[in-house]
């Protein structure tokens, strides 16, 4: 799955990137960012600081208003539709609002990326059941999202994002609806994936996680990005306890 030459070049590179919605003001301002393969970052910042918008640039939900974004070594504005699809299959996203398909049960929701990738049904069955068990949802495997709690939906969203062992995993506040014990368990799932080579960015408010795992932070405030290498030294200054 991992090609050596790709591992040596950055997964993502932002060069003077600004972004705004429509005619509004800049939500992200002059961002410089390099994500090395295999890296693990938390993304922090107050609500409305632009975390979701920055993640959106990383999975090509939108294109930058100014500057250049490169993913897997390729400038996103020059990609063909086929190339975009191919790159997107290597990115797993946990959406802040989950975006599960309500007409599909937990199993089929998680299986979706594998089906899109054309994986065989027998393999899908094994992988999906295994992963749903890991996130503690083996009993809810046939349940539909509207029947599930926020925390359960969140775990399905996470399982769906990681099922394909993406090269880049983006998670937007993935532990907002689970207790601390489950949050840690989910973080260990991300860690496992990271050990296999996946590059990870997790937007979070959870100070306990940040303190416990001590990964470097990409901190956003007023659209500017600041890199914080050792989170422990800045924990008192951040104000994302909400």
């Amino acid at each position: 799955m991992f090609e050596k030459n790709k591992l040596s070049s950055p997964i993502a590179e932002f060069n003077g990137v600004s972004f705004r919605y429509g005619n509004g003001g800049d939500v992200l301002k002059d961002i410089q960012l390099t994500l090395q393969p295999g890296s693990f970052h938390f993304m922090t910042g107050e609500s409305g600081a632009g975390k979701t918008s920055l993640l959106g640039l990383l999975y090509m939900n939108h294109l930058p208003t100014r500057g250049r974004v490169r993913l897997f070594g390729k400038a996103v504005d020059t990609l063909s539709r086929a190339e975009k699809s191919q790159i997107r299959r290597q990115i797993g996203v946990v959406f802040q609002d989950y975006r599960l398909l309500n007409h599909l049960n937990a199993f089929d929701n998680v299986a979706l990326p594998l089906r899109i990738a054309g994986v065989k049904e027998t393999e899908i069955k094994r992988h999906v059941s295994e992963l749903l068990t890991w996130v503690g949802l083996e009993k809810q495997i046939r349940a539909f999202p509207p029947e599930l709690s926020g925390g359960e939906k969140q775990r399905i969203a996470i399982a769906r994002a990681v099922i394909n062992r993406p090269q880049l995993l983006l998670a937007d506040e993935p532990t907002g609806n689970v207790d601390d014990a489950m949050a840690k368990r989910l973080l260990y799932l991300f860690l496992e994936l990271n050990k296999l080579g996946t590059t990870i960015v997790i937007a979070t408010h959870n100070q306990n996680l940040i303190k416990h795992f001590k990964f470097p932070q990409l901190h956003l405030s007023h659209g500017h990005l600041e890199y914080i290498a050792t989170p422990a030294t800045r924990s008192g200054n951040t104000t994302e306890d909400n």
Partner: protein, 297 residues
Amino acid sequence: MTKATDIPFAQDSSTFFICWISMLMVFLSVLTLAFALITHTSVENWHKNISGSMTVQIPTFTADGKERGDLVQTDIDAALGILLSTDGVIDAQILSESQMDSLMAPWMGENASTAELPLPKLIDVKINTDQLPDLEQIKADFAEQVPLAVLDSHRLSLAELVTLAQNLTRLTGLILLLMLTSMAFSVIFVTKSGLKVHRQVIALIHMMGAGDFYITRQFANRSGGLALSGGLIGFVLSLPVMTFIAYYLGNLTGGFIIQATLSARQWLLLFTVPLIATLLAYLTAAYTVFSELKRSL
């Protein structure tokens, strides 16, 4: 339970419209096509009955029993002149006495001579069945120049019926084309509205790296599947109607003019109608989705 599709078509009743339209179109198309096939078969039978010839009679006696003498030969020459100068007439010849004798043999006996009888002279006219002569023109010319000549052309009237039937068959082709076109437009309409209704789901699976083909296939499978089930229902519904019509036509004509039965090959042709509807719905949906996706981001 059927396997759930990624796109929640089941919640979207407009796609069932494809099922209905397919049912209706297949029902009507099968009946139209069956009608055309029956006509075609009958026409072939009629065609066999057109001998490619007709006869003209020149009387040798007047109505009150007097011999016409030399006038007969004058009429023959005039009639031959008219016939041979008409398009569609290949040849026209007066029957000789020996030909007349053999023609009358069944009634008169082998050795009888017709020379003594008050029989009319017969002109045998060979005609081109693919390009029939203008009978009205011949009749008009006869009325003017050979008023006593009688044109025996009932077999040719049949030929005119054949031409009519052939035009009717062409018309059914046009009707079928019209039905297929309206079905294609319905599929385009339903598919476009489906793309709108499901745009969020499509955006999501796009985000997961689904290519245009993946999304296109889902819509095409759905559209083709609905058209197939609707088409099969329409086909089955057309059977009793066809049976009734065939029975009715058979009774009406005693099976003489209209042969209301279909061959195995013709049945097979009728059965391709729901399949064509399915293929049409599949390809039209695929084309619609594919071109719409290309136009989006």
